[in-house]
């Protein structure tokens, strides 16, 4: 039982810790990855995605802005797939009004 619980906890921790990353783009490999890479990295680097966080509405508003002003084409049936992928894998994480300094700026342990 204890072992089963340990495995269960490990699985819960997986999405954040051990996700497969596409070597070319740095995008998380998960359902919707292919559609996202194909449509979203034609004009700009995938780094614009991997450094950003937003909920589904937020990602949708970016897509609409890009369609209105940046020549992004209609995404058709791929749109919900891409939105699900982005909202799932690049969701906002609350950092409050001032997070701790990031690890790279901290003194060595």
């Amino acid at each position: 039982m204890k072992r089963l619980m340990t495995i269960g906890l490990m699985l819960l921790a997986l999405p954040a810790a051990a996700r497969d990353i596409d070597a070319d783009s740095g995008l998380v490999i998960a359902p919707g990855f292919t559609e996202t890479k194909q449509n979203c990295t034609v004009c700009h680097s995938a780094k614009l995605i991997t450094q950003s966080r937003a909920d589904r509405d937020g990602w949708l508003s970016m897509i609409r802005w890009m369609q209105k002003t940046q020549n992004l084409w209609p995404l058709g049936p791929n749109e919900p797939v891409i939105l699900d992928y982005l909202a799932e894998n690049y969701a906002p994480e609350s950092i409050g009004r001032r997070p701790n300094l990031p690890a790279k700026l901290m003194p060595p342990e």
């Binding site: 070319d24 449509n39 780094k47 937003a54 909920d55 992004l72 084409w73 209609p74 300094l101």
Partner: protein
């Protein structure tokens, strides 16, 4: 036969590259879709291109475009690349320690794709002044600018309006700048005012707008990546330059060689790069990224996460007061010594900095730092001080600047805004005393 990279090929002639690589011909009318070559591209990519009819001509498909190994920015050192297409890179705080930011450490912020380096010829480059509020249309070569107008040199703070965006929550879209989308270089050129007055400014002039030789990231030749500007009073100030030199040398390619605007104290996006046209407008300029939500903040303060309609967003003008600790590097370990010399720069948009204070106890108490006057208006000011830690442990040194109107930097994040501009929260470095 000389081996040519995919990107080089596309840079030279994207339509021809389409034909050579994929046998692709797109509609000459819409410059989109495929008349021929869709199946070749699908075979190379291993997948059909959904909505291929919308795919603009002259594109490198992402699966191939992303395959380039490594990434180096010519002439730059130590920058952190946030985005490699379009290229955006910031400078770690400790590399901004020089009084005058060296070219190799000056940040890169691109909205579009810079003109190809070997296509830039300073000898034939022209700057055209036109617009409904210009008395006439005149074009100048760089040589003519140099010969006909007096030269001026100023140290000017150029800071991206989105510098510090990474700390906002809910997160804002766009490049997630930390603290390093800022620099203060020494710019040489002619006064924008002298050139505009030579051409003739009509009484109804309201704004100037710039255009540059960079191209839109979609490679659509009919789209302008960015065209912003400033109201006449800012354009006519002494320090607003049409510059050809940074720190006495050619401006780096990624920073606008051979000609750019250098207008200090306002978002860097008013200082157009690869400058080839300035238009004098009889109304607020309405080029791309002047309107909508770009480089704008809510006219009235809003709660975090508020959806603000375009008509309630106001153009950012002078940047807020700010400071940066450039020595030591965050994460420093003090062994056997409890005293630490600290220094950095402070700046305040159109204003000057009146005072800089340091804190080692998370803002509970502050001590004044020594503050030097600016070498000229709109340059940053050097501050320095010494702090002493009472005992071993973890500390943060905070710096807080106050401008000549008495407004200081907040220790928490300032007002949230949809695009994450104007974060001037005080800078912090981590120190371990052992």
């Amino acid at each position: 036969m000389k081996k040519v990279g995919l990107h080089e090929l596309y840079a030279k002639d994207p339509i021809e590259a389409d034909r050579l690589v994929f046998g692709r011909e797109s509609s000459p009318l819409t410059r989109r879709g495929f008349l021929r070559g869709a199946s070749t591209m699908a075979a190379i990519l291993g997948a059909d291109v959904v909505f291929s009819r919308f795919m603009p001509a002259g594109f490198i498909p992402a699966a191939l475009a992303d395959s380039e190994e490594g990434f180096q920015i010519p002439g730059k050192e130590g920058l952190v690349v946030l985005n490699d297409r379009p290229l955006n890179a910031e400078t770690p705080a400790h590399l901004l320690d020089d009084a005058i930011t060296p070219a190799k450490h000056f940040f890169v912020r691109n909205n579009g794709l810079p003109p190809e380096q070997d296509s830039i010829d300073p000898a034939t480059w022209t700057l055209t002044i036109d617009g409904e509020s210009a008395e006439r249309e005149v074009s100048f070569t760089i040589d003519e600018l140099k010969k006909r107008f007096k030269h001026y040199t100023y140290q000017l703070v150029i800071e991206c309006g989105g510098n510090g965006r990474a700390e906002f929550f809910p997160p804002a879209r766009g490049n997630q700048w930390g603290t390093g989308a800022v620099g203060c270089a020494e710019w040489t050129g002619v006064r924008l005012r002298d050139v505009l007055e030579e051409v003739g400014i009509k009484d109804d002039a309201v704004y100037i707008g710039y255009y540059g030789a960079d191209s839109h990231i979609s490679r659509d030749p009919n789209k302008v990546p960015i065209s912003r500007g400033v109201p006449m009073h800012k354009a006519l100030e002494d320090e607003a330059l049409i510059a050809w030199a940074m720190n006495g040398e050619d401006i780096p390619w990624q920073n606008g060689h051979p000609l750019r605007l250098a207008i200090g104290g306002w978002p860097a996006s008013v200082s157009g790069k690869w400058l080839n046209r300035i238009t004098i407008r009889n109304k607020e300029h309405d080029g791309p990224k002047m309107t909508g939500q770009s480089y704008r903040v809510p006219c009235k303060p809003v709660a975090p996460g508020t959806d603000v309609p375009d008509e309630d967003m106001c153009i950012i003008e002078s940047m807020p007061v700010k400071s940066l600790i450039t020595y030591p590097k965050s994460g420093v370990v003090l062994e056997g010594d409890r005293k630490l010399a600290v220094r950095g720069h402070a700046w305040a948009g159109d204003l000057s900095v009146e005072q800089v204070e340091l804190s080692i106890d998370f803002g509970a108490s502050w001590q004044k730092a020594d503050l030097k006057p600016a070498p000229n208006r709109l340059a940053w000011q050097r501050f320095s001080g010494e702090v002493e830690f009472p005992q071993a442990g973890y500390y943060e040194v905070w710096a807080r600047a106050t401008d000549s109107m008495g407004r200081g930097q907040p220790t928490l994040l300032p007002g949230w805004n949809p695009r994450g501009y104007l974060n001037n929260a005080c800078h912090r470095i981590a120190v371990k005393v052992s």
